[in-house]
Symmetry: C2
Subunit: 147 residues, 2 copies
Amino acid sequence: MGSLKTGELAQQAGVNVETLRFYERKGLLPDPPRRQSGYRQYPEESVDRIRFIKRAQEVGFSLDEIRELLALRVRPGTTCSGVRQRVEQKIRDVRRKIADLEAIERALTELTASCSSRGPISECPILENLDGEFPSPREAKAKSRRP
Amino acid sequence: MGSLKTGELAQQAGVNVETLRFYERKGLLPDPPRRQSGYRQYPEESVDRIRFIKRAQEVGFSLDEIRELLALRVRPGTTCSGVRQRVEQKIRDVRRKIADLEAIERALTELTASCSSRGPISECPILENLDGEFPSPREAKAKSRRP
DNA sequence: CTACAGCCCGTACCCTAGTACGGAGTCAAG
DNA sequence: CTTGACTCCGTACTAGGGTACGGGCTGTAG
């Protein structure tokens, strides 16, 4: 044992069977070995791979980007420097995403704070906590806010 | 001064003019005042709003979710408790995304580390740093890996 | 005053990421 | 050995997020 049929993999990974075929076509999931009948036999690790894809999607990577991410591992004889370049770019991308999310988190936290501190209704003005809160494109715009 | 035409806003925010109309239709951008000719007059803050939308998209929020996020602010007389519920859910979503990204970041960092420590080619095995690294669906699966 | 860029609107089109469909082959249980 | 669940494949369809198109108005620089 230790190999999965499409239905089993789909269920364990929480996706549709068609999605697996789709990912295979797109090169996100390597073509698995088949038995003589043509049935696919997925290794158990495929579950992790699918889940990784799903998580990466949830944080805003496209399937193309995810294919790149996955390609970064499992390279037998690639030159390190070439890989390093791309990995370091990816790391920067990821950090930018994290920074953006942290800004959103701060804004939301302030929002609950301003909400819960004063008690009831209409004392909860919930203002523009989310505006202009994003320093991440490394340029700090001088805002001239004139009435 | 202090109001923008569609083309100006589009350019400053780095999006297509059509995108602005699209967002307006979708309720992401409130209908701006018009002059008698019908020309839209956007307030300057619209730039921030568009940029926010773009950032939020990059970290995996759909336009529907972004509309909700934007709706959380600027509420005149909503009941705090109702808002709080939703905000706190959002905060959890955001934290999960951050955790996922941090896992990816760690994996990528290890990857460069394993790459740069030993020198040249083919000594760079770059293995499955990215597999099974994701604890975030709060269930730790006991893996029985049998040869 | 007229030209030409810029705006208006509705509609049609495009890409991405799946989902669904349906006819044919497979396989385990009864 | 048949039946029902599962698999195969190719193709078609969908929803989300835009983009493009084209005909008609606007507004400002010459």
